[in-house]
């Protein structure tokens, strides 16, 4: 029983981290083909928004987190209006531009808030099971990750906004001629992607050291999950995160963290080699047969 719960906890923890790290990036990349190298900085904005508002205004944690997310959405909207909107359909240019944004943002955080900021305490408590003890908040994160993914799926697959968004992404000029406000759809989708990165930052802020480079801790996991997931984020994200999470947890369990990190990168190389369209490519192919 304890053994099974341990497997659930470790696997779930790894899955939640990969899902939450990737989710904002997946929306922006999957829906709009913008390779957002500033993804880590969106997470940083969410984390700092949470911690700073929590400290300065003495807000309770959930409200501080909501504040962090709102700040990130506003930040995303401003960037979209100023820079990103000129880069749709230009994936390589978007790499250079978002990389520049990432450098500017992380250095600005360093200048404004200094090399480190006092963190918040992890909420909820811990409980004991046999010889192990577990953080309740970490288990909460597992469920939150799945709920967010479900809501996102619902938004893009079941609502009228979702239909408009998918139509716009599929063929902007036809959608436009059918009366869809394409620019507006892009802006909202980008804001959703930014907001999701903000959610990640807000959720992990109380568990990590608050430094200007906090977002960098997510960036590798985010990109490998999105690459493994493939073009359609809603179809591929969960199997990709589950696969990578299994590789990492089992290898780290039997060997060491270093080997776990190597294993996950090797797994990604194999996936790109044998499933160039990622898990979503595989699933859509089998479905269409």
């Amino acid at each position: 029983m304890v053994f099974l719960f341990n497997i659930f906890y470790q696997f779930g923890d790894s899955l939640a981290f990969l899902l939450l790290a990737a989710i904002g990036l997946a929306v922006i990349f999957g829906m709009m083909k913008i390779i957002n190298l500033a993804h880590g900085e969106f997470i940083t904005v969410g984390a700092y928004g949470t911690v700073v508002s929590g400290k300065v205004f003495n807000l309770p944690l959930p409200i501080a987190m909501a504040f962090g997310v709102v700040i990130t959405i506003i930040f995303g909207l401003i960037l979209e209006k100023l820079i990103i909107r000129y880069l749709y359909g230009r994936p390589l240019d978007s790499v250079v531009a978002t990389w520049g944004i990432s450098l500017i943002v992380s250095q600005s955080f360093l200048v404004i808030f200094g090399p480190s900021y006092e963190g918040l305490q992890t909420p909820m408590g811990n409980f004991q099971l046999g010889e192990f003890s577990y953080s309740e908040y970490r288990i909460f994160l597992i469920f939150i990750a799945l709920i967010i993914l479900f809501l996102l799926y619902y938004l893009f697959m079941k609502t009228s906004f979702g239909t408009l968004a998918r139509a716009t992404i599929e063929n902007p000029s036809i959608s436009s001629s059918m009366g869809v406000d394409v620019k507006n759809v892009y802006t909202i989708t980008f804001a959703i992607g930014a907001g999701l990165a903000g959610v990640t930052g807000a959720l992990y802020a109380p568990t990590m050291t608050i430094v200007p480079s906090i977002g960098q801790a997510f960036i590798v996991s985010a990109f490998i999950t999105v690459v493994t997931a493939g073009a359609s984020p809603f179809v591929g994200l969960v199997p990709a995160a589950a696969f990578l999470g299994t590789v990492q947890t089992s290898v780290t369990f039997f060997y060491k963290s270093t080997i776990g990190l190597i294993a996950i990168l090797c797994a990604v190389i194999l996936i790109i080699r044998y499933l160039p369209k990622g898990f979503s490519g595989l699933i859509l192919k089998t479905r269409s047969k």
Partner: protein, 411 residues
């Protein structure tokens, strides 16, 4: 007209040559920005404090001290670039600096090749035995041979180590292993963690499974520092021992409690010394040091142990130059090898002629409830004995190597 030009040129020449003769140039390479800036900025200020005080007292050999400083940005390539510039272009008399062991090793070779006197003023994994290098920071035999047996006595003999996966962590873990064995303990586990890792759920469970009495955390950098918050929220509750936290980047002030509660660190100085120790030598010296420091830098967030080491380094150098009567490198090295000492912020530091490392007062710092600091034990005059005992004797025989317990000089 011609006369005026000649006069101007000659007076310029005289001015420049006299400027050159009038100052002793101290090259400083420290990470004012980047990853290590939190721990390094107070260190830079300590160099400046020492230089200011010495100049106010009239300088050395009738000359003033002059700092030539570059920001190495926590980047080893910058270290190499600026090290070469200090030697070739600025022609400094001595170089002080480096925080991480990786950055020290990136410039030590350049210093040795350029026959430049070099002071490394940081706690580190130990073992550098180099004719032109002097170390004023604490080493494992000073930090671990005090801390580990004390914790094993208090909590039990089963020890687990988690360490950053690079030269500092690997060699420090080797020291812990050796000291645990010498004291009749058992290593129940050891894990080396890449510097990129920021999520520790699995590590925490592995530790719980091994049931250690003492957990040594030799973690480095902002990402790995997330371990403390995560272990507290998981309720790990095992006493932690370390040589890196509190004394460098003052995590006990920066992190919300209870992340660091139940942590023990051995340091050769921290600014709380005079708050915790209410009277006596250490109280007076620390209080005086902090007062002078704050007079110059009133907004310094924390005066850490490396700032005491930096302050001591400049003073040790100056004492040696006084004794040698010159700034010529080998003469100063000889003077430093004559047992030069300085009475610093935490008492007398004496340079060991064999290993070129300094002796230290070691304070055992306990981080308690609400991150309140106490000092349950003080060891006076702890020697950097290991290199000397195992065959490094720089006063007799020049060497330029770094040794470890499994690779001692005698082999």
């Amino acid at each position: 007209m011609k006369k005026i030009v000649i006069f101007l040129i000659s007076s310029f020449l005289i001015m420049f040559s006299s400027v050159k003769a009038d100052t002793i140039k101290l090259g400083i390479l420290e990470d004012e920005t980047g990853n290590f800036a939190i721990a390094v900025v107070p260190k830079i200020h300590a160099y400046e404090l020492a230089v200011k005080e010495i100049n106010a007292a009239g300088g050395v050999l009738g000359k003033k001290l002059e700092i030539v400083r570059y920001d190495t940005q926590s980047d080893n390539r910058r270290f190499q670039e600026f090290a070469r510039r200090l030697i070739k272009k600025d022609k400094v008399d001595v170089v002080f600096g480096a925080f991480s062991s990786a950055s020290r090793e990136s410039i030590r070779g350049i210093m040795e090749k350029g026959k430049m006197l070099y002071f490394y003023n940081n706690q580190y994994e130990g073992g550098v035995c180099s004719k032109t290098t002097f170390v004023t920071g604490a080493v494992p035999e000073q930090q671990f041979s005090t801390l580990v047996p004390w914790m094993m006595d208090k909590y039990g003999k089963n020890v687990y180590t988690i360490a950053a996966d690079y030269n500092f962590g690997q060699i420090s873990a080797e020291w812990v292993r050796q000291i645990v064995k010498e004291n009749g303990g058992t290593m129940v586990g050891e894990e080396f963690i890449p510097l990129d890792v920021s999520q520790f759920s699995q590590t925490i469970q592995k530790i719980q499974k091994a049931k250690p009495d003492v957990l040594m955390t030799l973690l480095v950098g902002a990402k790995q520092a997330s371990f403390y918050e995560q272990q507290a929220s998981a309720g790990l509750g095992i006493p932690m021992g370390t040589s890196v936290n509190v004394g460098q980047a003052y995590e006990h002030r920066r992190f919300a409690p209870p992340a660091l509660e139940n942590m023990y660190v051995t340091v050769n100085y921290i600014e709380e010394v005079h708050d915790v120790i209410k009277s006596g030598e250490f109280h007076d010296k620390s209080k005086d040091f902090v007062k002078r420091f704050k007079a110059l830098y009133p907004n310094e967030p924390y005066i850490n142990m490396e700032s005491a080491n930096a302050y001591n380094a400049i003073n040790l150098y100056v004492n040696a130059v006084k004794k040698a009567g010159t700034t010529e490198t080998m003469k100063v090295v000889e003077a430093l090898e004559s047992g030069i000492s300085f009475d610093g912020p935490s008492g007398v530091v004496t340079i060991d002629p064999k290993s070129h490392h300094g002796s230290h007062t070691i304070f055992l710092v306990e981080v308690g409830k609400g991150h309140k600091v106490s000092i349950p034990k003080v060891w006076k005059d702890i020697q950097p004995y290991w290199l000397g005992q195992s065959g490094c004797n720089l006063a007799q025989k020049a060497d330029y190597s770094q040794y470890t317990p499994s690779n001692p000089p005698s082999n």
